[in-house]
Amino acid sequence: MKNDLILRVIAKLLIPFILLFALYVQFHGDFGPGGGFQAGVILAAAVIFYALIYGLADARKVVPEPLVESMMAIGVLIYAGVGVAGLLLGGNYLDYFVLDPNPVRGQHRGIFWVEVGVATTVSGVMLKIFYMFADRGKVDEE
């Protein structure tokens, strides 16, 4: 597949849009359907798509495995960090109201960062699963 010109060109065209769509789903999640889970999966799908067309080795260069593992961890940390921030600002754990003088904006801010954390972890996990399975049995065509 690596040598199929059409696929490679179309992939190059599509992947930026997939990434863009992921960001849209991520940020629009506050107002409409969407959010971190979906965005994370779409983000991961873009990379998986890339791996399918350009090969696993190339994908590993773009998104190396340690990065993927770190993404899983960092996402959880962001989520937990928002909770701790609530604690530090005098509220309960995961209290968003205190994140901003204006409680409504506080809610907004809290949700935003939580969703960032979720997206990071979900895409990390998805990629990790993909890498893990794709690696087995050496099906990668080199």
């Binding site: 409409g32 359907p33 889970f37 996990v125 699963i129 893990m132 399975f133 087995r136």
Partner: protein
């Protein structure tokens, strides 16, 4: 919640029948199939039935997505959706872990049939090189 308001008819409760069918079918697959992958598929079906169990009653006929607006007064219950989103994530994690285990089992045993695995282990024990 919702279903309880209408009378007990087959039609009004059809989601429950589907739920129970999926539940029993999934469980049956888990129990009856010796193939480890098929067992996981059964487990997936079994878990899916739970999603339906939660989601179906949350939908109010005529209700909209629970986003405040002056135009609507009837909303579907959002909480089950959130719960099930969590449950789906849990299900995905379980499935991924299960599949990963199956992959490694296949590498270690060269088979994914339950009977074969058990047979191979008991042979190993007989030869005294179990541990």
């Amino acid at each position: 919640m919702t279903g309880a308001t209408t009378s007990m008819t087959l039609g009004s409760h059809f989601t429950y029948f589907i739920t129970i069918f999926l539940m029993v079918a999934g469980l049956f697959i888990v129990i009856s199939r010796p193939n480890l992958i098929k067992k996981l598929i059964g487990l997936g079906i079994f878990q899916t039935s739970v999603y339906l169990l939660y989601i179906a009653p949350a939908k109010l006929i005529g209700g909209t997505a629970p986003i405040l607006s002056n135009a609507f007064t009837v909303y579907s219950n959002p909480l089950p959706h959130v719960l099930i989103l969590t449950a789906i994530v849990v299900g995905v994690a379980t499935l991924a872990l299960g599949l990963a285990l199956v992959v490694r089992i296949r590498e270690a045993y060269d088979t994914i049939e339950e009977d074969d695995i058990l047979a191979r282990d008991s042979n190993a024990e007989d030869n005294g090189n179990a541990t």
